[in-house]
């Protein structure tokens, strides 16, 4: 066997090993990244009194914390839209958009922000330095809360199946079910970028 043939065979065997190893490592890395939830909210059982988000007695409120540059939160916005479509029209939604005060004006105007601002029956609240997120004791973009008419927390968690994956999942299904039946409570892991450490 010539030296060139040996070199070609060795290069191909090495490449084949690298090929299979890379594929395995890639699947493992993606799986780990996407299925690891963010830090869950340490939410209080009732509406935080110090919040500047308006709350009228008897009205249900849906609140979502968003980091505007978190690409995974596009999926949360998609799921939120589905929840709004399937929930009673009386449900008011507030999206709390994280905004560090020392960043340039307009930093928060991303495609996530634009999608959020187009949702029906929804208001955007700019959250300077994550102050509101701290009141709601939330840490992860996509964290969603559902409060009933008495201000009692009915749902706390995420509404996507994995990081950045829109589609049917038990989190959003629970929110819709609770908002429709006005009964029950639930929680679900939240997937997204960190807002407050």
């Amino acid at each position: 066997m010539s030296a060139r043939r040996i070199a070609v065979a060795a290069a191909l065997i090495l490449a084949a090993l690298l090929w299979t190893t890379t594929i395995g490592a890639m699947v493992h890395a993606i799986r780990r990244f996407e299925s690891t939830p963010g830090r869950a909210a340490d939410a209080l059982g009732s509406w935080p009194a110090a919040s500047r988000i308006p709350r009228a007695p008897g009205e249900w409120r849906l609140v979502m914390l968003i980091h505007p540059h978190c690409s995974c939160s596009r999926a949360s916005i998609t799921e939120l839209e589905r929840i709004i479509e399937h929930s009673p029209p009386s449900l008011r939604t507030y999206i709390v958009v994280y905004r560090p005060s020392d960043f340039a004006k307009g930093w928060e105007k991303t495609d996530v922000f634009t999608s959020a601002s187009r949702l029906p029956r929804t208001r955007i609240v700019l959250d300077q330095d994550g102050h509101e997120a701290r009141l709601f004791r939330g840490f992860t973009s996509g964290q969603t809360y559902l409060y009933d008419g008495d201000g009692k927390l009915r749902f706390s968690g995420g509404i996507t199946l994995l990081r950045g994956h829109a589609g049917f999942n038990s989190g959003s299904a629970e929110v819709i079910e609770i908002a429709k039946s006005k009964a029950g409570a639930g929680t679900h892991p939240v997937f997204g970028c960190a807002i407050n450490k």
Binding site: T22, F33, E34, S35, R74, H165, A194, K197
Partner: protein, 236 residues
């Protein structure tokens, strides 16, 4: 001296036809290996650009880091294309080259689907790729590609169903439904490959027959010229 018409064949003509067909197939498959090498390289760059465009950074409050998808596109995508590019360069036209290319093309589809956030539209890449692979006129290559798609769905369906079906508890047979759509396209592509091979064989046979007839005519002309020369010599 034997004579033959255009439609008749001899073992020598059939051997020559097989030789011509093999040469044409080999040249064709080498060209397609090169085409896939370019395509895989373009897809690799497109995957990186797509990741940079769709999800460039992951954030922790005010701090941003390069998103995992960008690393996956650079390192994972690079790993996927490395072996087929080497094979297309070092072993063009070999059966192993096109089978590895088929597997890598399907893995590139899976990666692109993932990088675009599982967009249903990106799944068209799988069907387009199968059509390109049919250019080889080698139906087992389509089987390799289909097995890779089915295995990807089967294994992810067991260990990570959310990533492929969007739900945590799909039916065990769900991967068969996805693979059936691929098989649906395969049926026609395999048929196309068999027809293509048949046409190539017929064309090679015609060429071999023409070559043989031409040789016979040349031999006849030579014999005639020799007879004429002999007659002229005798009359002189």
């Amino acid at each position: 001296m034997t004579t033959m018409t255009m439609n008749e064949t001899t073992p020598a003509v059939e051997d020559r036809a097989a030789e011509l067909r093999d040469a044409q197939l080999d040249a064709r498959r080498k060209r397609i290996d090169r085409m896939f090498a370019v395509l895989l390289a373009i897809q690799y760059v497109a995957g990186i650009l797509g990741a940079l465009f769709v999800s460039p950074y992951a954030w922790e409050g005010k701090v941003r880091v390069l998103h995992m998808h960008v690393w996956v596109a650079i390192l994972g995508g690079g790993g996927i294309v490395l072996l087929p590019l080497l094979l297309a360069w070092l072993k063009p036209g070999a059966a192993i080259t096109r089978h590895v290319i088929a597997a890598s093309q399907m893995l590139s589809s899976a990666l692109l689907i993932h990088l675009t956030g599982g967009r249903i539209e990106t799944h068209f890449h799988v069907f387009g790729s199968l059509a390109f692979l049919a250019f080889y006129l080698d139906w087992p290559v389509l089987v390799t590609a289909t097995v890779v798609v089915a295995a990807d769905h089967f294994l992810r369906g067991i260990f990570w169903p959310e990533s492929v079906y969007g739900i945590a508890n799909p039916e065990w047979w769900r991967f068969l439904e996805h693979a059936a759509w691929v098989a649906f396209e395969d049926v026609f592509l395999v048929w196309g490959c068999i027809l293509g091979q048949r046409e190539l064989r017929a064309s090679a046979l015609r060429q071999a027959q023409v070559e043989h007839l031409s040789e016979q005519e040349q031999l006849k002309s030579a014999a005639l010229e020799m007879a004429l020369a002999e007659m002229q010599t005798a009359s002189a």
